[in-house]
Amino acid sequence: MENDELIESFFEEMKANDQNLEIPPFPEKQPKKINWIIPIGIAASLLLAGFLFYEKAPEPEVPAEVIIITLEEGPNQEQQFKITESTYLDTWESSTSSLLTEF
């Protein structure tokens, strides 16, 4: 076993010498980083697109004027229609209100 002792001693010295060797660090796994720029960019694009293409609900158009048709008695006792235009209605009388009073 003398052979082995000689060789073992040789390797012990070699190992001691190898203690000076620089051992590269163990490659640690990097935790997955979320690149926030991409989702933020997508959200901003969607927002912008929504803002640009958003259509307002059409508002009902207000009639430009009111047509008032009245039946008036002319100078020769004849009935005639009088048509006037206005933007608003001052008073309103039911066309059948006379039935309540004159009947």
């Binding site: 052979n3 000689l6 060789i7 073992e8 040789f10 070699m14 010498n17 051992i23 163990f26 796994k29």
Partner: protein, 164 residues
């Protein structure tokens, strides 16, 4: 085996794995770093799987050795077994403190068996598994390597004593 256990196992063998990679690369530290990286990559990508956790060290050493052979072939430094001559004559001078230089004087297979047994405390059977050779062949490399290494050590010691 889950990823965390595998990471811990590799981490626990990291130092020895690097030293073995370096020895497989003819003591080239930079090439050894590349070999170790490639070895870890093979393992993490599932190209090399550990079936028996009890044989983790043998398994890791085996992957390192094969990766080193591939890399040495790429850089044109691979000496095939046919070209790795048996040491016939001892060199004129042998420096006892040049441990790596002395080991490099042995044929590749003898170097590796001797390093695995004496440096890394593997058995000859485990060395045979790493080298994927028959146990009888591994024993032959071991016996021849030990004999030649002893001659080299004695020669270097004699020279060192005469030099004093």
């Amino acid at each position: 085996m889950n990823q965390k256990t595998l990471d811990l196992l590799l981490k626990s063998h990291h130092r020895e794995a690097y030293l073995w990679a370096r020895q497989c690369c003819g003591f080239d530290s930079e090439l050894a770093k590349d070999v170790l990286q490639l070895t870890y990559l093979k393992i993490l990508e599932g190209k090399a799987k550990l079936n028996d956790p009890a044989k983790a060290k043998t398994w890791l050493f085996s992957i390192i050795r094969y990766t080193a052979v591939d890399e040495l072939r790429k850089v044109g430094k691979l000496v095939s077994l046919d070209e790795s001559p048996e040491l016939v004559d001892l060199p004129d001078t042998v420096d006892y403190t040049d441990y790596e230089g002395i080991i490099k004087l042995l044929p590749t297979m003898q170097q590796q068996v001797i390093l695995m047994v004496f440096y890394h405390q593997l058995t000859i059977e485990q060395s045979a598994e790493v080298l994927q050779i028959q146990l009888g062949t591994a024993r032959t490399h071991y016996a021849r390597g030990k004999k030649k290494l002893k001659e080299l050590i004695l020669k270097s010691q004699t020279e060192a004593n005469h030099g004093k």
